[in-house]
């Protein structure tokens, strides 16, 4: 079984009939999404539309009531979160979910060690694995975190913590990366920096990001999905979405959030 494909581009991540309710409150309703390989998708919608819930469902942090999730055509609905990460589906968090007491180098080294399947080793020092450390440092350097990699995470400036969120996800070497408001809480003049880092990621990487700032969305997304009340309201190219009167009404017309 594989999800219905719309074009010739292979689908990196797809969902079919994905539904979830918290008690009597539906938070995801019959969601069908297909992310083509290498796509840059934005997921937008008013607060409470179920955007983060959708990411939680895709990454296995929530279990759906119905529907399936496919990664590269393979049904991963029954797999646990860490299994999905190992198959190339990574995410970042809207609220910093970092290792507060570790420094950036230790944190990313940990993530690389996990991916390489070496984290269970207890007879050799972390410092002896130069391959792993070099890879971790390279990820940090690309995100301009090289200079502050010895600083304890909780003491890092907030914007750098947001970048570390991305660095940790990249250390898992994802094929698909889901970014939950990567610049959340970053002052507007600095949020460009975070998105420049996102834009600089490899073209092979399939991206889906949640973002409230429409300027950012239109600048970085090739395709936009509008979520309202847990269901897909509409989707299309940035031009189509900005011209859609319905979207204007439910979302664009309203005041932007924080």
């Amino acid at each position: 079984m594989s999800p219905p494909a719309q074009s010739n581009t292979p689908i990196a991540l797809g969902t079919r009939g994905l539904s979830k309710a918290f008690g009597s409150l539906p938070v995801a309703r019959d969601i069908a999404i297909n992310l083509p390989v290498g796509a840059r998708y934005a997921l937008i919608g008013p607060n409470g539309a179920g955007k983060t819930t959708l990411i939680n469902l895709m990454t296995g942090m929530l279990t759906p009531n119905a529907g399936q999730i496919f990664l590269a055509g393979e049904d991963i609905t029954a797999l646990g979160p860490q299994e999905r990460v190992r198959r190339g589906l990574a995410r970042t968090f809207q609220i910093n979910t970092l290792f507060a007491g570790l420094n950036a180098l230790e944190a990313v080294t940990l993530a690389v060690t996990e991916r390489r399947g070496r984290a269970g080793r207890f007879w050799r020092g972390v410092g002896s694995d130069s391959e792993t450390i070099d890879e971790a440092y390279e990820i940090l350097r690309k995100l301009k975190l090289g200079d502050s990699c010895y600083q304890i995470t909780r003491e890092l400036p907030y914007g750098r913590q947001r970048l570390l969120e991305i660095a940790l996800a990249l250390a898992t070497r994802p094929k698909v990366l889901l970014l939950d408001e990567p610049a959340a809480g970053v002052p507007p003049e600095e949020s460009g920096e975070v998105f420049e880092a996102v834009a600089g990621l490899s073209d092979d990487l399939t991206l889906l990001f949640i973002e409230h700032d429409m300027h950012v969305v239109f600048r970085f997304a090739s395709h936009i999905i509008v979520l309202v009340g847990g269901a897909i309201f509409t989707e299309g190219t940035p031009a189509e979405i900005s011209a859609d009167p319905g979207v204007r009404e439910v979302y664009l017309g309203k005041r932007k959030h924080g």
Partner: protein
């Protein structure tokens, strides 16, 4: 350390984390002082070394991985009874006795770890407390095997390596306990600086993020818990062999609580936290019980409250804080 970090390569930095500090060498040299300064207290010194080993084992799961345990004495007791019974029923060779007792405690720890790894926080406190009480009552009821509240009698050890008999002054006992403590400490130190040690700190720092970086936290916890249980069993076996008896106290809730107090006093999540805590606790107990045999726990209580209020990260946490501030000036 931070000042020089700028000039270091990332690998050099991580290697420096596991390098021996001069204070560590001083600490281990100081452990030899009782032979010279307090030859009358070698039995106490031996018990301190054993307790320190026990505290070190708890530090690996509680201090580093943040896995709470209120029943850690179960493994200490299993090790103690295993070693004691082995000797009682005819095999008094100490080193093989240690190996057998450690293996048994480790096996039980491995079995229990499948339950432990699934839970956190309050649930885990209740589960470990329950398992600890279970182990205590099992030892109490199995009077035919353990001697129950009368203690296990008839333990008689052969000389260590066939050469050194356990003497009344505790000379052999302390040498033996200290040597085992040092060897196991080297292993624990290696573990803490290993990828698994880093993963355990990751679990402590953020339980939610671990699966999101593809980590199997439960597998890490099972491994660490098994190792910690084996170490606790080893400590228990040492006590059984050096005192040539096993009391019910060795598997009691009191012992689980005491070791927790030591770790908090010394500083959890630091390699020397349990060691320093054990020294302070045991010496304080010895001194306070000399002053007021009935009420010595009163003073331990005062000490605990005072340390936790003034130094929330334990004595070592406080010292390293002041040291960092002093270096920063």
């Amino acid at each position: 350390m931070r000042a020089s970090a700028a000039t270091m390569t990332p690998q050099g930095y991580l290697q420096a984390q596991s390098r021996w500090h001069p204070l560590e060498i001083a600490f281990w040299l100081a452990t030899l002082l009782p032979f010279v300064l307090f030859p009358d207290y070698l039995s106490l010194a031996s018990q301190i070394a054993i307790t320190a080993l026990f505290a070190l084992s708890l530090d690996i799961i509680l201090g580093y991985a943040g896995i709470v345990s209120l029943g850690h004495a179960a493994f200490f007791g299993i090790g103690a009874y295993s070693a004691g019974l082995l000797s009682k029923y005819g095999w008094g060779e100490p080193l093989t006795g240690l190996v057998v007792a450690t293996a048994i405690a480790g096996l039980v720890g491995f079995a229990v770890s499948f339950v432990i790894a699934r839970f956190r926080h309050f649930t885990l406190i209740m589960i470990t407390l329950g398992l600890g009480l279970l182990a205590f009552e099992a030892a109490n009821r199995a009077h035919w095997l353990t001697g129950g509240s009368d203690g296990l009698q008839g333990v008689s050890m052969w000389p260590v390596l066939g050469l050194f008999k356990f003497d009344l002054y505790g000379y052999t006992a302390y040498t033996y306990s200290l040597a085992v403590l040092f060897v196991v400490f080297l292993g624990a130190r290696r573990l803490i600086n290993s990828p698994l040690g880093l993963a355990l700190r990751g679990i402590r720092e953020n339980w939610v993020r671990m699966p999101a970086i593809g980590a199997d936290s439960q597998a890490h916890i099972r491994k660490a818990y098994t190792i910690a249980a084996a170490m606790a069993g080893l400590a228990g076996a040492l006590l059984a062999q050096t005192t040539e008896s096993v009391s019910l106290e060795s598997i009691s809730f009191q012992r689980s609580a005491d070791v927790l107090v030591m770790l908090v006093l010394g500083g959890a999540g630091r390699l020397y936290g349990g060691l320093i805590g054990a020294i302070i606790f045991m010496v304080a107990r010895d001194q306070f019980s000399g002053i007021a045999p009935q009420y010595w726990y009163f003073w331990i209580g005062v000490l605990l409250v005072a340390v936790v209020m003034v130094l929330p990260n334990g004595i070592l946490g406080g010292l390293s804080h002041f040291y960092a501030r002093w270096r920063g000036k």
